[in-house]
Amino acid sequence: MASDTDYDSDGMRDNGNGGSSEGNGRRRRHPMMTWRNNLRALVVDNGRICRIMESGLLDAYGVEVEAVGTGEAAVELIASGETFDLIVIEMFLPFMSGPETARTIREMGITSKILGIAPMYWEKDAQEFLAAGIDEFLEKPFTPELFVPFLREIDNQK
């Protein structure tokens, strides 16, 4: 039976914060899109189906992806020196919430594009998340129709 650990298990790193980074060692040979620059994305989502789909779709569109399940793991990854062009953060993370994670990342001086995602669009959630420093608030599912325009923008700016 496939487990979250078994899927995309290349480069698994346990950072001791209840989260682990799933490296995308297994890249698609024929991505659906190619970019002028090498784009890297970080997906922060505690829902395993969502995390797998979000990172899988980004990977399918030619983005190098790291995926973690907690805000703490995301902060630790960035603090270790990893850089990302795009950071996707789920609103309702356990312990360190999505807005707290986004705020912490911004306080670290990270200027990358940060997208906040949530299962449902709720006005007060959107306002809280945007105030924490994200660039855009989106309702799930996180599909190519939503993220490709942001990737184009990032690619053009690099």
Binding site: D4, I49, I52, M53, A60, E90, F92, P141
Partner: protein, 233 residues
């Protein structure tokens, strides 16, 4: 003395016998090649081969000892059959998913799941369906438990709604998504009766999606079983 003379006579006959047998052997080889290429006279092996293919048992021994021609013959027959079967099943899956779209049971997001299946991830659809069903059942059971409490912990229920809505929308379970929104509204308004009703609706919609996803999973499994069989050849 007699035995010695008989032995000498026998030894003198051997070259002639060898010539006779080698001629017969050549004729047999020609005949053998003929029946293998045309299938005439080897119907018992051909039938056995198809039976084993149909019952998914590997054909490990072709008796008598397989010639290269026999191996090529059966390999071609099985490969052709496997390709036709796989194409049929893939078309069946496509038609089935289209029907699900038309009935509003699955939306286009299920195609994202299918598109992520590739050579590097040949079992992706099966894995996601399995994961979704397991996670959804846990969520629904927890939601029902908290909603049933005399004093409802609406925050906990909301947490599970978010999980279920997120995973359902990722796999295209649009009707579950709608039911989740209704439950979310009921929790916002702190209406226990509304929560109970919405919870039951989520269960009903989940069962419909689950049954249809399981049907797709069954078809996917049949393709992978055929792939495993082809690997033997």
């Amino acid at each position: 003395m007699r035995k010695f003379l008989l032995t000498v006579a026998w030894l003198r006959m051997l070259p002639s016998l060898r010539q006779i047998f080698s001629s017969l052997g050549a004729l047999m080889d020609i005949g053998y090649a003929f029946v293998v290429l045309t299938g005439v006279g080897r119907m018992d092996l051909i039938v056995k081969g198809w039976q084993d293919f149909g019952s998914r048992k590997p054909v490990l021994n072709l008796t008598p000892s397989p010639s290269k021609l026999e191996y090529i013959f059966f390999h071609n027959v099985f490969s052709q059959g496997k390709k036709m079967a796989e194409t049929d099943v893939k078309q069946q899956i496509k038609d089935y998913v289209q029907t699900m779209h038309e009935q509003g049971i699955l939306d286009h997001n299920f195609e994202n799941v299918q598109n992520l299946q590739c050579q590097e991830n040949p079992h992706f659809v099966l894995e996601i369906i399995d994961m979704f069903c397991r996670d959804a059942e846990i969520c629904i059971a927890e939601m029902a438990k908290y909603v049933d409490e005399p004093v409802v912990d609406y925050a906990k229920v909301t947490g599970f709604i978010h999980q279920l809505k997120g995973s359902s929308s990722s796999v295209g379970g649009c009707r579950i998504v709608v039911a989740c929104r209704e439950l979310r509204k009921a929790t916002e308004n702190k209406m226990k009766e509304g929560c109970l009703e919405a919870c039951n609706k989520i269960k009903r919609e989940y069962f419909v999606v689950r049954d249809n996803l399981n049907a797709i999973a069954k078809m996917e499994r049949s393709i992978h079983t055929d792939d495993a069989m082809a690997g033997i050849f």
